[in-house]
Symmetry: C2
Subunit: 442 residues, 2 copies
């Protein structure tokens, strides 16, 4: 057996302690599968004294995590501190610049700085690996990069945020509204005290930018992801969707339109959508994550599993470590960073779909006529008025008593839908910001 593969670990929160526990519990199994033992040599964490329920006495302690980049004899550094910049990014740069391989679970950092880090890694011959950054232990990056390596992939759809999916599934079951359900999810540990990144869609957007880069062979482009979260989805919307045979899910979607002699056009969007009951993503319940990738030879591949959690995330971190210990060093995004292409942002306004539109309006004559006129003027044709009149109490925006009007449109370009909503923007009849969600078909 080769000499041991030595690690430095930065961060001993829930994920870091999960990694330490996994490496210890499965030490023999991992040695057999890697062809060498994997050992922790050094660690860094904010509070050395805290009892984490694991024995850390054998490891060198570093006050400053960045020092792990230069501790003698390490084969790789594992970063599970988190944060887009700060110590995580400092450590990543220092490690890769020093030619030391780097494993991270940090989606925000990879979505925003992944290209520069991949370039550093290739310059010094180090490896950069981040399986745990997307869907934790559900090995979607590997599936795209290795399992589907023979395919052009032009479309990826996923449920990438477990908290949002937990909340939407729970609202479905209980009939309760967003605020109550979020509070319950926080009590049960499915939502953070500050849920903004999860329910606002930002967390899913980070993951989507990574998936699109790796799946399509593009430079990560987090900045161009269009993001809308689930805060405005009401229990009444879920009930309406159900009557139509749909469920509401926060869907992250990227597609690439390749063109001859012109840059490809990339669309990346995170937003709540209506999915027909037979759509593979419609069946994803609770905190589960799932990704559906369309290969030109393999066809649609669905991968589903836990999207968070200490043990699941540790599973992915250690999978990356084993690959390094075996001597695999793939380019981080599947091809050398210099081969990653740039894409233009596609014009989402021209994309056609049927839409679910929901208004909360004042209970007075003529409101429906006003809505219908705005639709007509924006060239949006109403397929069916699916409910009129449910009393929703006072509107959130105006405090005025409101009734709900929901409708489904015929296929229309997104910009016409926006135009219709814009025309109604100043109307005193509208007592709450309208909600528009596309119907995704299978």
């Amino acid at each position: 057996m080769d000499r041991a593969f030595k690690l430095g670990i930065a961060g001993l929160g829930t994920v870091g302690t999960g990694v330490v526990r996994l490496l210890s519990e499965h030490a023999d199994l991992l040695a057999e599968r890697s062809g060498r033992r994997i050992e922790i040599a050094a660690v860094s964490a904010r509070n050395p004294a805290r009892d984490r329920g694991i024995d850390l006495s054998g490891y060198q302690w570093c006050e400053d995590p960045v020092d792990l980049a230069s501790v003698d004899g390490l084969d790789a550094v594992v970063e599970v501190i988190g944060g887009t910049d700060g110590p995580a990014l400092d450590l990543a740069r220092a490690s890769l610049d020093a030619g030391r391989s780097f494993v991270t679970a940090n989606k925000a950092m990879i979505a925003e700085h992944g290209l520069a880090l991949a370039e550093s890694a290739e310059r010094t011959g180090a490896a950069l690996a981040f399986e745990a950054a997307v869907c934790a232990g559900t090995p979607i990056l590997q599936t795209l990069r290795e399992g589907m390596v023979a395919n052009r992939i032009d479309r990826i759809e996923g449920i990438l945020n477990g908290t949002s999916n937990y909340i939407l599934s729970a609202m479905e079951r209980s009939g309760e509204d967003f605020a109550e359900t979020l509070a319950e999810a926080q009590r049960l540990g499915y939502a953070e005290a500050d849920p903004a990144l999860d329910v606002g869609g930002g967390d899913a957007a980070h993951k989507l930018a990574i998936l699109a880069a790796l799946g399509f062979g593009l430079k990560p482009d987090f900045g161009s992801v269009e993001v809308e979260g689930i805060r405005d989805v009401r229990a009444a919307d879920i009930a309406q969707a159900e009557r139509l045979g749909f469920v509401i899910r926060l869907v992250a979607m990227a597609d690439l339109e390749r063109r001859e002699d012109a840059p490809a056009r990339l669309l990346q969007r995170v937003r709540p959508c209506l999915l027909p009951a037979d759509h593979p993503l419609a069946r994803i319940d609770g905190p589960t994550n799932a990704v559906l990738a369309q290969g030109d030879y393999a066809g649609p591949i669905l991968l589903q599993g836990a999207g968070a959690g200490s043990e699941s995330t540790a599973s992915a971190v250690v999978a990356d470590i084993v690959a390094l210990a075996r001597g695999d060093a793939r380019p981080a995004f599947g091809v050398p960073a210099s081969s990653l292409e740039s894409a233009e942002s596609a014009d989402s306004g021209s994309r056609e779909a049927r839409y679910y539109l929901r208004f909360v309006v004042a209970d007075r004559p003529g409101v429906l006529a006003e809505l219908a006129a705005a639709m007509r003027d924006a060239r949006v044709s109403i397929q069916s008025l699916i409910q009129e009149g449910e009393n929703l109490g006072n509107g959130e925006d105006t405090g005025e008593a409101g009734i709900m009007i929901a409708l489904v449109t015929h296929k229309a370009p997104a910009r016409n839908i926006r135009d219709a909503l814009h025309r109604l923007g100043d109307s005193p009849s509208i007592v709450e910001t309208p909600l528009a969600m596309p119907l995704l078909m299978n």
Copy 2:
């Protein structure tokens, strides 16, 4: 870029031509992802003159596929001839013995001779790869071996035969019986002219033996797979199951009971089962394959996609080729063949489950009492009699007019169920072999 990676391909049927087409269509993409070009140098097929719609003029032709093992300058041989033994096995042995890496889509050969081939490969330093042998382009072997490498896996369940799943899903929709549905599936190309290996469960058993070996770290043990196919499932059973909230699927299941200081116990079974509607495998429709693997850190991971077809299979074959071209050479079963453990066969008779039992009986007094007595004597307790009396026409075994009695038992060991059926074996009241299917719970 490194020098080209040169292939010999044995077999130019639908899969072989799919591989040739993929390698040609994605030549640049694959070169970028592999770091070198992948080129076909030699081929072998039964009929050199047949028009396959692809240009084969640049390749060296071998009359005898086994000659590919010794053609100068090849980096790997790809076998897509098929068959448990014969030329496929001769070629595998010759290639690996000569130290030449070998890629195959041949599930029967790997299930039955995989261990010996893996040993040959390790002896000479060649690689043996067979991603395409299980679920075609849906990369389940890689997911178990690499994606879940940090996990102990103790349970794998799957829908591994697309033909059987297509037929069961079609029976569900149409309400027609097995024979008509099979004929329709054959007309549409979803079933072979000789469907025995598919609907009899043998094909799923081959794949299960490979999954269990790789997932659990065991020597492949195809001989101990307990197999039952779907021929005896009637439309009436599917209708009954639906009323109970279940669907019927051909489920391949392997589980491993690890023990201290004693060989582990392995159970491998392929048989039709009743799945509750919320079971992840209950939602797999048509010719799709799916595998659910339970990792101790990653939790349950579900992978779903096409399980057959020229393009999907080519996707997996080429994924293996790319890995070889990159220089990856994993042990075929995840660990060296000498580290694979042997397991005892678990006693399936002691496994407890609720069972669905369906009888076709003569329409005369006292039959139900006779069934109930046999159950009582075998210590099987009936939870509910779910239907009595539907006339099914003449029984298949006796030609006598029969009526259907279906029931669900309380939890009972499989051996008690077998005992109950055995007690009724000679009864003149039974006009068709009874059907017993376990209820798998989520």
